[in-house]
């Protein structure tokens, strides 16, 4: 075509000539896009692989089978089966007795103490629970799977190397010998770690769980949702639909946008000064956490809700007004239902933000070491990200995998919330 005379060229020839260049451009752009996506995916998968690789073992824990004698003499010498007496009995003694019976030739005091340490201190609680649930077993002998100490767990999972010199190892050769004796009898087993999901925090890794943090997060999010959704939506509706356009509303708009960019720790300081020091609300409570995070998520929700309201086509408003609907009726019967999916999406994203937030909560004392699972928004509690922070700070090897496992649970919740947001958007997108 190029040797053809310029004047004889038809438009279609010019189009064809330009096509090649256009397609090349398009291809280049596609490649750049694909490269960006692949890079992103690589980083994300690296993150996931490292977290999952570190954390998946935490979902299992080592249990040791012991032949426990529920001796009446030890548990209930008076034989009255008084629950009070039963619950205060020395169950740790039962475990010790069983261990002594298992290894009769361990005599030295020091060795005995080391031997008892094979089993977690939480084992006695499990025995107490068994007895309280069923007092009949007193006086019988029974094989029971008991939680092993975290060092034993690490040994079994291979995180403690048996081949390094004894001095470099947390577990002595003697202990390894006992464990191997158990292993040879098939009395060591990895089981699903329910403790991790049901327990609160603990100094003992094998007894530490995210139950408390999950409940804390839940109460906190409930408070946040209950406050920020209605307030955010009401504010957005007023600003978008009813407020006059003047300098004041402009000022408010600027401030809301500013608030969205304020570092979250500042909200924590504000919460500390206002809710705890001024109003005297309890420290470490999910209620206060929820209030602080409400302040933090409100701008997000208001901005998303206003955008959702703005995206409702004006023709729908005109249609409603045109047949004599009042402004109120127009907003609540037509505009709000159409904007709702957008508002909900914004709210869920705000909630996900709140769920992942830790800095402001440190300020209001939610970083305390709390063993009990909170029973309500007024009880002291911690939340998932703060729990991650606490565990990441602990030296024990067993807390490393628990940290990753807690992150996995947190990511799971975030994933569910964001997925919900996407479904909502899909479901209600473009209804006009």
């Amino acid at each position: 075509m190029s040797n053809q005379n310029q004047t004889e060229k038809r438009a279609i020839d010019l189009v064809n000539a330009s096509l090649k260049k256009r397609y090349a451009k398009e291809r280049r752009f596609r490649h750049v896009g694909q490269a960006a996506v692949i890079m992103g995916l690589l980083f994300v998968s690296f993150l996931f692989i490292s977290i999952i690789g570190n954390g998946y073992t935490a979902f299992e824990h080592t249990f040791v089978r012991l032949n426990i004698e529920f001796s009446e003499q030890e548990i209930d010498p008076e034989g009255k089966r008084d629950p009070q007496a039963l619950s205060t009995a020395n169950y740790a003694g039962l475990v010790k007795a069983a261990m002594r019976a298992e290894f009769p030739d361990v005599k030295a005091r020091k060795d005995k103490r080391a031997l008892y340490k094979l089993i977690s201190s939480g084992a006695s609680l499990a025995l107490r629970e068994m007895v309280l649930a069923n007092p009949e077993i007193i006086g019988t002998k029974k094989e029971v799977w008991l939680v092993a100490d975290d060092d034993i767990d690490m040994l079994i999972k291979g995180h403690i190397d048996r081949n390094v010199p004894e001095s470099d190892r947390r577990v002595s050769d003697k202990v390894i010998g006992w464990v191997e004796q158990f292993e040879s009898k098939g009395a060591v087993e990895k089981q699903f770690n329910t403790t991790f999901f049901t327990n609160g925090d603990s100094r003992e890794p094998e007894l530490a769980g995210i139950g408390g943090a999950v409940m804390g997060s839940l109460y906190m999010l409930l408070v946040t949702l209950a406050l920020s959704f209605p307030i955010g939506v009401a504010a957005a509706v007023y600003l978008e639909e009813f407020a006059p356009q003047n300098r004041w509303t402009d000022l408010i708009e600027v401030n809301i946008n500013n608030l969205a960019a304020v570092p979250s720790i500042v909200f924590g300081l504000l919460g500390l000064a206002m809710f705890i020091n001024f109003f005297g609300l309890p420290r470490s409570a999910p209620l206060v956490g929820g209030l602080v995070l409400t302040l933090m998520t409100l701008p997000t929700i208001i901005i998303a809700s206003r955008a959702a309201l703005k995206s409702v086509p004006p023709s729908i408003r005109e249609a409603a007004l045109g047949i004599g609907a009042s402004k109120m009726q127009m907003v609540f019967n037509h505009v709000l239902p159409l904007a709702m999916p957008g508002m909900l999406t914004g709210t869920i994203i705000g909630m996900a933000q709140a769920l992942g937030e830790s800095a402001p909560l440190l300020m209001i004392g939610m970083v305390a070491f709390i063993v009990d699972i909170p029973g309500g928004p007024f009880d002291p509690a911690t939340v998932l990200p703060v729990q991650v922070y606490l565990w990441a700070d602990s030296p024990e090897r067993a807390f490393v995998e628990r940290t990753s496992a807690a992150i996995m649970v947190l990511l799971g919740f975030l994933f569910i919330m964001n997925f919900l947001a996407i479904i909502l958007r899909r479901r209600f997108e473009r209804r006009w």
């Binding site: 356009q245 086509p313 004006p314 023709s315 729908i316 408003r317 005109e318 249609a319 409603a320 007004l321 045109g322 047949i323 004599g324 609907a325 009042s326 009726q329 019967n333 037509h334 159409l338 209804r431 006009w432």
Partner: protein
Amino acid sequence: MDTATAVDEMGGDMSQTVATEGAFDHEKASQAFVGKVGEIAVDNPRMTARKVNVYYGEKHAIQDVNLDIGKNEVISMIGPSGCGKSTFLRCLNRMNDTIDICRVAGEIKLDGQDVYDKKLDVVPLRAQVGMVFQKPNPFPKSIYDNIAYGPKIHGLVSNKADLDEVVESSLRRAGLWSEVKDYLDQPGTGLSGGQQQRLCIARTIAVSPEVILMDEPCSALDPIATAKIEELIDELRENYTIAIVTHSMQQAARVSQRTAYFHLGKLIEVGNTDDIFTNPSHKLTEDYITGRFG
């Protein structure tokens, strides 16, 4: 003979303009006719507009329009695209309030009551002066709910049976009933463009407004549906007042008693439809209706 003088004046003015050779300067021509628009007043007016000026920000969209709309009358408004027909129509039930940058000056009265009175409640006004918009805008709800919404919020019906009846009769009169009677629970937005237009007409008449403003109600309709709507307009005229914007001369001629011709934001000529179409007194009107312009 007015026309002749006007054209002469025009010729005189032309020399001073930068208009290209032989082009007809409509701006100058429309200025030349100010004050000679014909009979703006009627004996028994339903709505009266006096010295109405509308601005969209800086843009002066309507200039000094005076016009009466009589009882039991159909008045059609014609004119080239962008001349302000919709704008004028939307002033009559204050729909322009919804546009932030829009400012309306002048006086518009409905039965002697000033429509732009600060104390006037626009809700009953719009219930009384209904509107069919230029672009069909059904609610994203079911066909049934589209029609039922108006009667419901105004409390026009007391029970479901009455409501069903209103929905059916409105759809029938708009010529849509036979097409949708089995799909009343389907979304109104799923209808075709022309069906949506008729749905919007049905929705407007369902609240029985006394004045109906129709902005190109038949722009997307086939001749049969158009005939049906024109029939409806004829029927409604017995009790109501109708202002209709249309781009179809034939339609204006068929349905209206009076016709108003707008040009570049000005009312150029108004009069009996027959007179306007057979014997327009202005060059601009004549050019427009004979198809030489617009």
